[in-house]
Each structure stands twice: as structure tokens, then as C-alpha cells.
């Protein structure tokens, strides 16, 4: 943590960049898209939204971890990301206290 170690090997490729894995991710994402559309056709009542959001969450986890590289970044990045998402969730819940109970 000083001037001297600003670039100490933490440059992007702590791992070997590969084409293969990313193409796999892409195929997975496309399949998940098909699944969401298919599931949307079935009437799941109140769970429709939940299922759709669940799949979207999985998809975004793939994008964030692989395409956006978070999986291979420093712990700091992960902490920040988790923290921000948590704050966002809490804000949603707190607003829900008003919106859902009014």
C-alpha cells in the first residue's frame, strides 16, 4: 500500500485469459434466456416474478464473475460489490415497508 507497489502484479491477468471458458459462459447465458422465456409461458401465479428474478440473478452472477472478471479480482472489489448490492437491497426493503403496507 504505497507508491512503490501500485502495480505489483495485480494487473488484470492473475490468471491466464482463455477463450473457451468465456464461450461456455455465453452459451449458458443464452440457454438461461431461453429458459426464462419458456418459464414465463407457464402460469406460476405469484412465483412468476420470483423465478424470473432468480434466473436473472444467476445470469448476472455469471456476467459479473466471468465477463467482468470479479472472480479473479482482489478481495476488496468483491467486498465493495457485495456491500453496494446489500445497501441497494436494504433500500428496497425499507421502501417496501411503505409501499406494501400502505
Amino acid at each position: 500500500m504505497s507508491h512503490t507497489d501500485t502495480n505489483d502484479g495485480k494487473i488484470a491477468h492473475a490468471h491466464d485469459p482463455r477463450y473457451g471458458i468465456n464461450i461456455m459462459i455465453w452459451i449458458t447465458l443464452l440457454s438461461l434466456t431461453v429458459i426464462t422465456i419458456a418459464v414465463a409461458g407457464i402460469d406460476l401465479g405469484n412465483y412468476t416474478l420470483l423465478v424470473a428474478m432468480f434466473i436473472a440473478a444467476i445470469k448476472s452472477a455469471f456476467v459479473i464473475n466471468y465477463f467482468m472478471h470479479i472472480k479473479f479480482e482482489d478481495l476488496l472489489f468483491k467486498l465493495f460489490l457485495v456491500g453496494v448490492i446489500l445497501v441497494l437491497l436494504v433500500v428496497f426493503v425499507l421502501t417496501g415497508f411503505d409501499v406494501f403496507l400502505r
Binding site: M1, S2, H3, V84, V91, T95, F97, D98
Partner: protein
């Protein structure tokens, strides 16, 4: 970097004298040096502050009698709106972080500059553009905006005055604030001097760091809210318009999700400055360093959860009313911890109550009043009565003016010798402070009583029974004028012909006191290695003899 700090004949060159590619005014406007940018911010801020105060002065004059005195209701409504917008978005949100933060954050952590110097200059330009847009909007055909600084829908959707332009100005100012936040967080993580761990950071840095996080997380929410109001006015999308099925209460949620945390953007940096000043003048290590540092983060976090306390009477659900009330009381605790630790720091110190320290004492008194009345407002039963009355106006002037602005003045007096290498007349400075404190309490304490008796805010006109108190407050505002003008004149004279101050006039221990006054371009000849905490006066000699 000795080549830039020493001139050809071996003299030391400070950052004012240093000649880069550009000289004169361009040398400032195109400089990416954090110190020059900091001073640019301070200059713009003080200018806007004087404008905002003048508006306040005219508001007080209008309230001398019930009914019309010197202006009509439309003008008055525009005045308090502009007063609020200027004071909040142009003065106290950028105030300490962008001004003093820019100047001292890199020096205090032992860095040569911030992480993204060009971005830093860019944020200042955004700030200036935002400010100019806000001013320009006054001259558009619709006339000055009259919504109050809260822009509540649906009034802001319906009023005929010019709303879009000042809102875009606020959006741009928000963007500037975000970029400063990004810059500071990155800088603190990346550019600390060797040996400076997080728990050896000066508390001002902790405060700036927490503030920067609020800026990053909170500001986008008001950004989108403002954009939606603009879109709403341009295209009529209907999201906040009850006539089209929209819900005005949701506007308030979005607005306060940012604007409550914003009050901690205003106060946290000020609290950081207090934590610097007390140890310096008490020659004593701060009491409970860890608690003060962590409480900044705690305030930043819990502070994002209490926005609903501005909406107790807005018609939101009864459940959320008590939830927000509860959380509001929780957020007061870390502020309490800070106050107690500061007072405890004075215990067994060796105190020399010079001007900055006197400001801090005034701050502790005034901010405690402001904060404790915040508790009155956080309590449901009382807030239902006091919401949107002068009690609230009193509360926030105590915390914002008595809190942040007083500490802004304290910082000005504390770091003046470092920034300019000169000293002002301390006697006159103390007299100015005394006048200000008297005027302040005459002006704003009266508001508490007015509020409890049922005087609503944003009132151009009022019931005759309130007249006496309004007049007393207005007289108080004149006393304040005297104090503030005296302070500025004194500083100005110090700038012109004050005597040289030396590198460490107060006996401070943080890194800025180890570099020359004014500092050289890249701050340090050699980046220091940090061994001790920022206020460990046991090691005072070792640290300060190690002068650059």
C-alpha cells in the same frame, strides 16, 4: 522531485511560484495540482456563500412585518428556494471535502496528488458549469424557480417558473460530487505513504473516506430523481403525477434516499476537521481513535437507512413511520460517541485555546443543540407537530451553519498559515467569532420557539402574533452580518499583509505540518515513511524534526 521544488539558485519554490506550462490565470484554470484545485473550489464556494447569505438577509428583511414589506410572495418563494439550493448544492456539500479535502487529503496521507488529477480538474469544471447554469436560470423567461430546495412533485411539475435548468444544474453538481468521491476513495486505497495503514490515517481522512462513499452511493439516486422530473416536465411520462396515476410520495422517497445521507456528506468532513483541531491544540493524542474512525463509517452506513424521517406526515404507511423513527434514533449514537470522545480528549490535555480551537468549542455547543433537536424531530409524536415549521428551520441551521459552516471557518483559520504561509490577526478573529455566536443564537434559537408555537416554514406572510419574535431574529441576522464580515475582512488583511507563519505554527503532528508553508508542487521532497499514529504526541519531536 527536487527539480520542481527548488529553483536554479537553490531556493525552495512553493506551488504558487512554480511555473508549469501555463502561467497566470491559465496556470490555475488548467492546473491539475490538487492544491490549486482545492483553492479554486474554496474561492468559488466562498463567493456562492456570500450570495446565499445575501438572499437570507433579504428574506429576514421581508419577514420584519407580516404582509408585504419589500417584495411580493413570488419573489420571496424564489428567494428561499435559491437560498436553499445555493447553500446546499453549491456551498456545503462540496465545501469541506472538495475544498479542504482536495488540498489536504494527499498531503495528509503522504501522496503527491490524488489518483486521478485530470478527473479532479474536470469535477471542478462541472461544479462551475453547474453553478453558472443555476445562476443563468434566473434570467430565463419563466423566472426564478420557486419550488423550495426539495423540488417536491407535483408542484415542481406544475409551476410555471423555470425548473428544468436549475435541475440540470443540480444534476451536473451531483456528477461533480460523484467524481470527487470516486477520486478520494481510490486515492485513499492506493496512494498512502509507506507505513500508513488504515488505522494510522488522520481522522479527517477517515471522515472524507466515509463521505466519499456516501457521495458514490447516494448521489445517483437524486440524479435519477431529477432526471425524471425533467423528463416529466418535457414529455409528461406521469411517474410522479397523481393525475396520471403517479405517486408523489415515491418522489419524496427517492429525494430523501439521497438527501438525508447528504446531510452526513455535509457534517462528516466537518467532524473530521474537529478531530484534527482538538489534538493539535491540546497537545494530546485523541481519545478513542478507533471509535471515532469507525463511527464515521457507521454514520455513513446507518445514515442511508433513515431517510423516511422527513416524511412522517407525508401519508406513508404507519409501519414505516415507526421503523424510520427507530432507525433515526440509532443514527444519533455514533455522533454522540464522537462528541464524548472529543470532550474526553480535552481531559488532562495541555490546551491552548487559539482561534480554531474556539471555533471548535462553539461548534460542539451549537451542533449539540442542533443534533439534540434532531432527536425531537426524530420522535414521531413531536415531529407530527413540528414538521415543516420553523423548528425544523432552526434545527438545520444549527447543524448546517453552527455545525458545518462554523467548522468551515475553523478550518479556514486552522489551515490558513499552511495554505498561504501567512498569519491573520488572532485577536480580531476571536472577536468576530464571539459576535457570530451571539448573532447566531439570537437569529436561530428564536426559530425553535416560533416553530413550537406553530409558525410553518416557507411562509411569506404570518400571523401578527409572531411578529415580535421575527423582528428579534432579524436583528440577530444583522449581528451575524457584522461578525461574518469582520471575519472575512480580517482573513483578507492577513492574506495581504500578515506576517510569515512558519511551517508549524500550532504544533500539529499530521503530515501537512512537516512540509513547508505553502507546500511545494508535489508536496514532499521525499515521501515520508510513517511509524506512528497521527496524534501520538509522545513522538512529537521525532515526527516533526523529520521536516521535509
Amino acid at each position: 522531485m527536487s527539480d520542481s521544488t527548488v529553483s536554479t539558485n537553490g531556493d525552495y519554490v512553493n506551488f504558487y511560484q512554480y511555473k508549469g506550462k501555463h502561467t497566470g490565470i491559465l496556470g490555475w484554470l488548467l492546473s491539475v495540482d490538487h492544491k490549486r484545485i482545492g483553492l479554486l473550489y474554496l474561492g468559488s464556494m466562498v463567493t456562492f456563500f456570500l450570495v446565499g447569505m445575501t438572499l437570507g438577509f433579504f428574506m429576514r428583511l421581508e419577514l420584519w412585518n407580516p404582509g408585504q414589506d419589500i417584495m411580493g410572495p413570488q419573489t420571496y418563494n424564489a428567494l428561499f428556494t435559491l437560498h436553499g439550493i445555493i447553500m446546499i448544492f453549491l456551498v456545503i456539500i462540496p465545501g469541506i471535502p472538495a475544498g479542504f479535502g482536495n488540498f489536504f487529503l494527499p498531503i495528509q496521507i503522504g501522496a503527491e496528488d490524488v489518483s486521478f488529477p485530470r478527473l479532479n480538474l474536470f469535477s471542478w469544471y462541472l461544479y462551475t458549469i453547474g453553478g453558472l447554469l443555476a445562476v443563468a436560470s434566473l434570467f430565463l423567461s419563466g423566472g426564478p424557480i420557486d419550488t423550495g430546495w426539495t423540488f417536491y412533485a407535483p408542484y415542481s411539475l406544475r409551476t410555471g417558473t423555470e425548473v428544468i435548468m436549475p435541475l440540470m444544474a443540480a444534476f451536473i453538481l451531483g456528477f461533480s460530487s460523484i467524481l470527487t468521491g470516486v477520486n478520494f476513495v481510490t486515492t485513499v486505497h492506493r496512494l498512502r505513504a509507506p507505513g500508513m495503514t488504515f488505522f494510522k490515517l488522520p481522522l479527517f481522512i477517515w471522515a472524507l473516506y466515509s463521505t466519499a462513499w456516501i457521495q458514490i452511493i447516494g448521489t445517483p439516486i437524486i440524479g435519477i430523481t431529477i432526471l425524471l422530473v425533467v423528463v416529466e416536465r418535457l414529455f409528461g411520462v406521469g411517474l410522479f403525477d397523481p393525475a396520471m396515476g403517479g405517486d408523489p410520495i415515491l418522489f419524496q422517497h427517492l429525494f430523501w434516499i439521497y438527501s438525508h445521507p447528504a446531510v452526513y456528506i455535509m457534517i462528516l468532513p466537518a467532524m473530521g476537521v474537529v478531530s484534527e483541531i482538538i489534538p493539535t491544540f491540546a497537545r494530546k493524542t485523541i481519545f478513542g481513535y478507533g471509535a471515532i474512525a469507525v463511527s464515521s463509517i457507521a454514520i455513513a452506513f446507518v445514515g442511508t437507512l433513515v431517510w423516511g424521517h422527513h416524511m412522517f406526515t407525508s401519508g406513508m404507511s404507519d409501519e414505516s413511520r415507526w421503523v424510520y423513527s427507530f432507525l433515526t434514533f440509532i443514527v444519533a449514537l455514533p455522533s454522540g460517541v464522537k462528541i464524548f470522545n472529543w470532550v474526553a480528549t480535552m481531559y488532562k490535555g495541555s490546551i491552548k485555546a487559539e482561534t480554531p480551537f474556539l471555533y471548535v468549542m462553539a461548534f460542539i455547543f451549537l451542533f449539540s443543540i442542533g443534533g439534540l433537536t434532531g432527536l425531537v424531530l426524530g420522535s414521531l409524536a413531536t415531529d407530527v407537530h413540528l414538521h415543516d415549521t420553523y423548528f425544523v428551520v432552526a434545527h438545520f441551521h444549527y447543524v448546517m451553519f453552527g455545525g458545518t459552516i462554523f467548522i468551515f471557518f475553523a478550518a479556514l483559520h486552522y489551515w490558513f498559515p499552511k495554505m498561504f504561509g501567512k498569519m491573520y490577526n488572532t485577536k480580531i478573529a476571536n472577536i468576530a467569532l464571539a459576535i457570530m455566536v451571539v448573532g447566531f443564537n439570537m437569529l436561530y434559537f428564536t426559530f425553535f420557539i416560533l416553530g413550537y408555537l406553530g409558525m410553518p416554514r416557507r411562509y411569506y406572510d404570518y400571523l401578527p402574533e409572531f411578529q415580535g419574535m421575527h423582528q428579534f431574529a432579524t436583528v440577530g441576522s444583522w449581528v451575524m452580518i457584522a461578525g461574518i464580515l469582520l471575519m472575512f475582512i480580517n482573513l483578507f488583511l492577513g492574506l495581504k499583509n500578515g506576517k510569515k507563519s512558519g511551517n508549524n505554527p500550532w504544533g500539529g503532528m499530521t503530515l501537512e505540518w512537516t512540509v513547508p508553508s505553502p507546500p511545494p508542487l508535489l508536496n514532499f521532497k521525499k515521501i515520508p515513511t510513517v511509524k506512528y499514529g497521527p496524534y501520538e504526541y509522545e513522538h512529537y519531536d521525532e515526527v516533526t524534526n523529520n521536516v521535509n
